[in-house]
Subunit: 232 residues, 2 copies
DNA sequence: CCGGATCCGGTTAGATACTG
DNA sequence: CAGTATCTAACCGGATCCGG
């Protein structure tokens, strides 16, 4: 830890030595969102190399921010869990995200579209309360994308975790969502709404009327969607 | 900006691209504390190379966080001033500092003692209200340090900025503070108090009784001194 | 499949010196 | 005062490979 030190006793500097290295805050966001296993974390930070991910996880353990716990029932599997100190970093990550939503321009943001990341976030934040009390399957179709990444399925069973598939799950589809990745990302980020996108024919919903009319409410948005944007 | 991108539309990632590079948060702390000129900023981040400082200042301008304004009355002098977007980063820097004060161990922190940084912070946060209504000169003596950095003077004139000198200013000294750098830093950080250090003979005050008895109140502490520490 | 380790080329940062 | 220039060391990205 003597390496890379700012050599300042100020708490901002001491914390920044740990937190403000490449990928660390993005990784913490993924841990705070609930991912615990190495390959789940990789899905949340897909452009981070596994070597650097492993290094950061070791550093965060050394800093007392997370613990590595072997899973007794599954050999060779470990879970990375935040300590109390790590959970308190939520205030830091939220402050960073709130500022980003308010002040980072949308144009560069929307140059970083990624269907897997979007679907991964959506499946985690989906709100099952306003949905039917039986299993629902929703198919998303991003028709401008190559076949390998254009079709996604969310399988929602009340009381269970939402499942995300990128290959046909075999169930009947209750609602088809046909749109483009940019529009869906804008809605997720709170920069657009389902109803406005429908009016402008940027999104087409086919199937269950019940699921269609409630989409804006069961679609969990980004945790920062409610923050007012102050720049273009 | 395409370089070094995390390629994530998430506001946390977009903001982290700008904020979570080396020295940036520490530099923002210094800007938020009020420094505006290149060499004042250097005093607040003394271990940062001027080349990197200049580069970061350019990046922060490009991100809309600060503006460079030439001073009309003084040629060849510019001031770096935070924009509204930059001022809102106070929440981020405070969140980082609060977490650091609570969760970073004191031992590594107190290995980064620096008399110039401490005096620079103290002179900026000093509270003149409980001081006499005439000019006061206070001499700090860190006797374990080499001569070049052991003696410091604060010159306080009501209604004016506090001056910091590292060479004898020529005024009569109203209060002598004889201590060691670690003790003074602990007091500044809220880990110790003037009265406890006096009882333990780690600080000796000589001169004006009025200045001596009010020291804990005119001595402005670190903005994070009030945050409860949760680790050793 | 899960959880990494290894290697190599490119980028970034630190140290010091220097300039208008 | 306000920065550049230059050289070296550390860090990072991307690909591949490995052991259970």
């Amino acid at each position: 830890m003597a390496e890379g030190s700012y050599k300042q006793f100020c708490p901002v500097a001491m914390a920044a030595e740990i937190l403000c290295t490449r990928w660390t805050v993005v990784l913490l966001r993924e841990l705070l969102a609930g991912s615990t296993r190495f390959n789940d974390l990789r899905r949340g930070v897909p452009r981070m190399s596994p070597a650097l991910l492993a290094k950061r996880l070791r550093e965060l353990q050394a800093a007392g921010i997370l613990e590595r716990l072997p899973v007794p029932t599954e050999p060779d599997v470990s879970e990375y869990k935040l300590t109390p100190s790590g959970h308190e970093l939520r205030t830091v990550v939220e402050a960073v995200g709130n500022w980003g939503q308010r002040w980072v321009e949308t144009k560069p943001t929307l140059e970083n579209l990624d269907p897997e990341l979007l679907m991964w976030d959506m499946h985690r934040n989906l709100n099952t309360d306003p949905m039917p009390h039986h299993r629902s399957t929703i198919q998303f179709m991003y028709r401008e994308l190559p076949q390998t990444s254009s079709n996604w399925w969310l399988i929602v069973e009340p009381g269970k975790n939402v499942d995300l598939c990128s290959i046909e799950p075999g169930f009947d589809v209750d609602l088809y969502v046909s749109t483009d990745l940019r529009t869906m990302t804008e809605i997720w980020m709170g920069l657009n709404t389902v109803s406005r996108a429908k009016r402008e024919d940027r999104i087409i919903l086919t199937g269950s009327r019940e699921l269609e009319s409630a989409m804006q409410s069961w679609l969990g948005l980004s945790p920062f969607a409610k923050i007012e944007k102050l720049v273009s």
